[in-house]
């Protein structure tokens, strides 16, 4: 399908590798699970060595683990970083021991974390330090399909669009191969928040519901469809709206939380037709060196 990529403007946005954050003393360091139990687990952010795009989204002893490297900027610059970085954009280390090494944007985390999540090859990961500066060559804002203007692209780089193999459809506007379909009824935290700069989470407290809907095997980086969910100008329930997104962070014990999905495409009125396939992960689609060989 043709698009308007020749008109896009690429700009640099930049952040620093952030440390995971815990509350200052004397506050309790615990998070409270949906069952009321207090637990201390690694918080989102930082450099995660042993969880990568391609690994399971479930089972890790961490709260919303963000694979690879998470970056943020101070103040309004973080809004630009989160708002303009698109999934699949190139990231370049511009300070520290990994100077000049290149990675890719794989997602964005939601409220209270508000990071851009990056993938780097394992040998680069070993060289990166907290505080290192990383530049993102942001391109993708404004991207639109020439023959399906009612299909909204969100945080979508031209590189990811090419990889997704979006097809034209006479009955629907476009077809998109996906690894899973998630019902809108399972979407929790992130509803009512922006669809441009974060993610919306698949609620996992009711494990039986995950099995019922066939989403208990999700992997980080999976391309998924969310049924009856509108992400055109914010995230919310709408019958026959479909959103395509990427699984960007891991599960959580918190009520209303779970794996995060950063929207990359959304349309109302059944204009996106997901096609369920066995595997669909941006690790393979973008050619990232992912396998850690670890499963949760």
């Amino acid at each position: 399908m043709s698009d308007n990529r020749s008109q896009l403007v690429g700009v640099a946005v930049q952040g620093s590798v952030v440390s995971p954050q815990l509350p200052a003393l004397p506050a309790s360091p615990y998070i409270i699970g949906a069952d009321g139990k207090a637990v201390l687990l690694p918080a989102p952010g930082g450099i995660v060595y042993n969880v990568s795009i391609g690994d399971s989204a479930y089972g890790w002893l961490a709260d919303m683990v963000q694979p690879g490297v998470s970056i943020a900027a101070a103040g309004g610059a973080n809004n630009a970083l989160r708002g303009l970085a698109c999934v699949g954009n190139e990231a370049i280390v511009v300070s520290g021991r990994a100077l000049g090494k290149r990675g890719a944007v794989t997602g964005k985390s939601g409220r209270f974390a508000e990071h851009v999540i990056l993938h780097f090859d394992r040998e680069v990961l070993e060289m990166i330090a907290l505080g290192d500066k990383i530049l993102v060559r942001a391109i993708g804002r404004g991207l639109a399909l020439s023959d399906a203007a009612d299909v909204h692209l969100k945080s979508m780089s031209p590189r990811l669009l090419d990889a997704l193999e979006v097809g034209a459809s006479e009955s629907a506007g476009v077809t998109v191969p996906v690894a899973a379909e998630v019902p809108g009824s399972l979407m929790g935290a992130g509803a009512g928040l922006t669809s441009e700069a974060g993610c919306v989470q698949i609620q996992t407290d009711d494990r039986a519901a995950l099995a019922t809907h066939g989403v208990e095997g999700l992997r980080l980086g999976d391309v998924v469809a969310i049924r009856d969910f509108d992400c055109r100008w914010g995230n919310g329930y709408l019958k026959d709206a479909v959103t395509i997104g990427v699984v960007v962070h891991g599960d959580s014990v918190r009520g209303g939380h779970g794996p995060g999905v950063t929207p990359v495409m959304t349309a109302v009125g059944g204009r996106i037709q997901p096609q369920l396939v066995a595997e669909r992960n941006i690790g393979e689609l973008l050619g990232l060196k992912t396998a850690t060989g670890v499963t949760a």
Partner: protein, 310 residues
């Protein structure tokens, strides 16, 4: 009468100030149809709307009825937010109507206090308001599976609630909201603030009759456990209070403030059309709440979202 531990609760003063409408509330916000719109409705003193009025149809977003208060110091503000319970007494402690009394009817970006019209006429932005907070720690002794949030003993007594023969908690509600409509606030604590139900699908809201809800209505949310977070859990039931008005933002709508939640099906909602705290707490008389069937249940502001098409 439900057996509780109310005699063991501690009553504490917390405080705030009548909070001004903030300039940034006048920035354009984007409706669910992608239109820019200015919006009013939050903070300050609302002269036109009280608890008991319709939750839909006003030319406002997140309409906060009555008086909105908060405190400029973080510690005081958090104490106000966490400890003020629905149905607590409020008293004005400065200004032209010092000594006037009101009742806590909601908690959103601000704690919402209902005052009678004569006090509303005299109140000024910045006036100090003190709350006699009572309710944190409240337990229902015959319903150990039921968790309370921000529920004063006074409001509990005013609920149409009883213990059934099979030891479940039966609660009268105006309407039931399905879990798939629960939206903004899923990421927040049920002890802090409300959660909106989503009204972007206007057909669905009309089909369920939810567009006829009023501020102050008691509602049930099906399949939502709001014990220590907010999320889908099959069979769970949460009882809440409608505290603010509709919204045209995606994922937003009237706010549901959690009062009671059972993860294990220990709450049985039953229909009770007059379960509105404006009536049950004696804040207003029934004639003031008579429904007008001609009421337009969607404001032009919210409708602008539906005109956006793609």
């Amino acid at each position: 009468m439900l057996r509780t531990n109310a005699s063991q609760l501690v009553e504490l003063a917390v405080h705030g100030r009548v909070w001004p409408v903030a300039g940034d509330h006048y920035d354009y916000r984007t409706t669910s149809g992608g239109r820019g719109a200015t919006h009013i409705g939050m903070a300050g003193i609302c002269f036109t709307h009280r608890v008991g009025d319709a939750a839909f149809g006003w030319e406002a977003d997140h309409l906060e009825p009555g008086v909105s208060i908060r405190h400029p110091d973080d510690g005081d503000e958090h104490a106000l937010h966490y400890l003020a319970c629905m149905g607590n007494d409020a008293i004005v402690t400065s200004g032209a109507c010092s000594g006037a009394t009101g009742v806590v009817t909601g908690e959103h970006a601000h704690v919402l206090v209902d005052f009678p019209p004569e006090a509303i006429e005299m109140l000024a932005v910045g006036d100090e308001i003190q709350i006699r907070s009572l309710g944190t720690g409240l337990q229902l002794l015959d319903h150990p599976d039921v968790i309370t949030h921000k529920l004063s003993p006074r409001l509990l007594d005013a609920l149409d609630a009883s213990t059934t023969d099979d030891m479940k908690l039966q609660v009268g509600v105006v309407a039931e909201i399905p879990s798939y409509l629960m939206g903004s606030g899923a990421e927040l604590s049920p002890d802090y603030v409300d959660q909106d139900f989503m009204t972007g699908d206007r057909e669905e809201i009309a089909r369920l009759g939810l567009d006829r809800l009023r501020l102050g209505d008691i509602v049930a949310v099906r399949d939502e456990d709001h014990g220590w977070g907010r999320g889908f859990y099959s069979g769970a039931v949460t009882i809440g209070l409608i505290i603010h008005g509709d919204s045209a933002w995606t994922g937003h709508g009237p706010g549901v403030l959690d009062l009671l939640s059972s993860r294990d099906g220990g709450i049985v909602p039953v229909r009770s059309p007059d379960a509105n705290i404006a009536l049950t707490l004696g804040l207003r008389v029934p004639s003031e709440l008579e429904r007008d069937d001609q009421t337009n249940h969607v404001s032009s502001y919210a409708m602008s979202s539906d005109l956006g098409g793609s």
